[in-house]
């Protein structure tokens, strides 16, 4: 595969589980500072695509290039260190640590065994934690045990943990699931703010929310791309309407 100017270039990506192709020959390019939304019915392969990019699942064919570095050969932590952040579908935070500690643990220094043993909480770390906490609207909860946060706040905290690493590519799996209408609006603002200097891929079902944030939408169906483009165009697409409403 040739090198490209895209942040992320997914080409001919395939993965099969015992013969079942969950992702089938998928090709997709993400621009710098782009916010892309993946939509599609359950089982379309959206989460699997994210799993493949971040190394949780190994592909059976094709390539994933991030800034022209092949990711399929790297292990999970190497992919993260190259600048890819991933948020899981269910908020995945360290419930018995405080909000502050959750963010601090995610700070990208002291990542080795001995590095972590000698890691010091410097002013730099402190500033970064406070800046991110302000971004995710959790400044006043910094000292709280994170298990006590509301569901929506946990989602934000996990996004914050990713922002601590200043990733170039951020992947969010259903970031507004379980949120109130107000929280959804706040999250939309948050996402629009954070994609100023990085690319973001979001999986989302809520079409109202998608409209607020998406630069481009990719519709997946049975592991293949059904349609791709701006929201209005995709919504008018015959095949998309067929898949969503056809049966």
């Amino acid at each position: 595969m040739s090198n490209t100017d895209f942040v992320l270039a997914v080409e001919d990506l395939t993965v099969s589980f015992d013969g079942f192709k969950a992702v089938d020959n998928l090709t997709m390019y993400i621009d710098k500072n782009e916010l892309r939304v993946l939509v599609g019915p359950n089982g379309a392969g959206k989460t699997t695509v994210l799993d493949l990019i971040c190394g949780k699942t190994k592909s059976t064919g094709g390539s994933i290039k991030f800034n022209n570095t092949e990711l399929t050969k790297l292990s999970e932590h190497e992919i993260v260190r190259s600048g890819v952040g991933r948020k899981f579908q269910n908020p995945s935070i360290y419930e018995n640590l405080t909000v502050y500690q959750n963010l601090e643990v995610s700070y990208p220094k002291g990542r080795g065994v001995f590095g972590s043993l000698t890691f010091k909480r410097t002013q730099e770390v402190e500033d970064q934690v406070r800046r991110v906490a302000a971004d995710i609207m959790l400044t006043e909860f910094l000292d709280m045990e994170s298990a006590l946060l509301s569901h929506g706040q946990k989602q934000w905290l996990e996004i914050g943990m990713l922002l601590m690493q200043e990733p170039e590519l951020l992947m969010l799996d259903e970031p507004v699931a379980g949120m109130s209408a107000k929280e959804r609006d706040q999250t939309a603002d948050l996402l629009n703010r954070i994609c100023q200097n990085r690319s973001v891929i979001v999986i989302e079902h809520d079409m109202e929310f998608v409209k607020k944030i998406a630069h481009k939408v990719t519709v997946l169906h049975q592991g293949k791309i059904l349609a791709e483009g701006p929201m209005e165009k995709v919504q008018a697409d015959e095949k998309v309407i067929e898949v969503y409403l056809g049966h």
């Binding site: 932590h77 640590l97 643990v105 990208p108 990542r111 065994v113 972590s116 043993l117 690493q165």
Partner: protein, 427 residues
């Protein structure tokens, strides 16, 4: 600032409570017990305290890392045997052993028709090598097991079962290879270390104190690890391993390291055991001793370093008392202890103390001057790591997230005392 204030302000020691806890433990080990009991009993307590090394290692590995090894006897035994090999060689000089058909080799080798010292025994003629071996061989062995398992993401019950199988293998091997290991009797009749008779009362006192100091060394080292970012990551991994991995950490390396550290501590305990008790046998290596060491840690409180020491002392004291007088009752008690600790007191003595101290907030301050505050020491270790954690009751209440909001207020009030939260410990 006085030294006292400085110590209390240190995150490493776990604040004022942590300092008091350590001070009380130090007083118990270095003053109360040596003054209170005769040398025979003190030697016995010294023996128990060698198991505490294993328990302290398990606090890191199991209590904080969520990794349950049922094979810590492997490392205790390797350390103990390394030391025993050195002492045995010193006890087998050609003059003392001149009645053997091959003088100058350990007696059990002679009985098993060996005519020369096996090659792997040779380096154990040197004490520096022996000490080096105690510190590195068990750790290296742990590294191999840990590397093979954690790199392939084997964890949980599988890890426990496999470490148990390795403990079984090692104990059968030691018993089976009598000529090289002394077989089921182990290595007995150890007398001197570099000419210094370890069987005298004065030697027993010195070894007891050396053991105590080393144990404190292990506790401080563990406290340092727990108060560092590593300690925080350990808790994070126990809770959400995937999240840690996808935050750019190579999770397996952290697990391997903590497993090796716990192994090294166990080995030091084993070596001190050999020195104080004067023999080493396969009965400290196999399945049963390995799992009993887990219960020492569990009784004290799996997340509490100081609790682990008290737990070890308590269970072994009970074992000695009961197995001498009512051996039948003891097995029921021991079995019951496993079940009860797990079902009713998953945080052990430390957990009970926390709950008690939290319930009567006033008691915490009084404990500072209280006369018998042994248990006041427990449960505060995690203070440095979990600056503000749920109280024991709140932890139970938040099983359901719905209640979380309602207990928020009370918890923040009570949060001065931290309790290791065992939810997710097995995840």
């Amino acid at each position: 600032m006085t030294l006292w204030e400085k110590m209390c302000a240190s995150d490493l020691l776990g604040g004022k409570q942590g300092v008091i806890g350590l001070a009380v433990l130090a007083a118990v080990i270095f003053l109360v017990l040596p003054l209170g009991v005769d040398i025979f009993r003190l030697n016995l307590i010294g023996k128990y305290l060698t198991y505490a090394f294993v328990a302290v290692g398990l606090v890191l590995l199991w209590g904080h890392g969520g990794i349950l090894s049922l094979g810590q006897g492997i490392f205790f035994g390797l350390g103990g045997y390394a030391m025993a090999m050195f002492l045995k060689l010193e006890a087998s000089d050609p003059i003392t052993t001149k009645i053997q058909s091959t003088p100058g080799i350990p007696d059990f080798m002679d009985w098993n028709q060996l005519t020369a010292l096996p090659w792997f025994w040779e380096p154990f003629k040197s004490l520096p090598f022996t000490i080096f071996a105690v510190l590195t061989i068990p750790a290296l062995f742990a590294y191999i097991i840990g590397y093979a398992m954690f790199k392939r993401r084997v964890g949980g019950v599988y890890f426990s079962i496999i470490t148990q199988a390795v403990a079984l293998i090692l104990s059968i091997l030691i018993v089976g290879q009598q000529g090289y290991t002394g077989g089921v009797n182990g290595m007995t009749d150890l007398r001197t270390m570099l000419g210094w008779d370890i069987r005298t009362d004065s030697a027993k006192y010195i070894l007891y104190y050396a053991n105590g100091l080393l144990l404190f060394g292990a506790i401080f080292l563990s406290k340092y690890v727990m108060s560092s970012k590593f300690g925080m990551l350990l808790l994070a991994m126990r809770d959400k391993e995937e999240r840690v991995r996808f935050s750019g950490y190579d999770v397996s390396n952290f697990k391997i390291f903590i497993f090796c550290l716990a192994a090294m501590m166990s080995a030091v305990g084993g070596a001190m055991f050999t020195l104080q008790v004067g023999f080493m046998s396969p009965s400290f290596v196999g399945i049963v001793p390995s799992i009993e060491m887990v219960i020492f840690c569990a009784v004290g409180g799996r997340a509490s370093l100081i609790g682990a020491v008290y737990g070890t002392l308590l269970v072994n004291y009970g074992k000695t008392v009961f197995s001498e007088t009512y051996p039948e009752l003891w097995l029921f008690l021991m079995g019951g202890l496993f079940i009860a600790v797990v079902m009713f007191f998953p945080n052990g003595i430390a957990g009970i103390w926390d709950k008690y101290a939290t319930k009567y907030g006033w008691f915490k301050d009084k404990a500072v001057t209280a006369k018998k505050p042994e248990v006041s020491t427990t449960g505060v270790e995690t203070h440095a790591v979990l600056t503000e954690t749920l109280s024991a009751e709140a932890a139970a209440a938040t099983e359901s997230t719905d209640v979380a909001a309602s207990v928020k207020k009370t918890t923040r009030k009570k949060a001065a005392i931290s309790s290791p939260n065992i939810r997710g410990a097995e995840a």
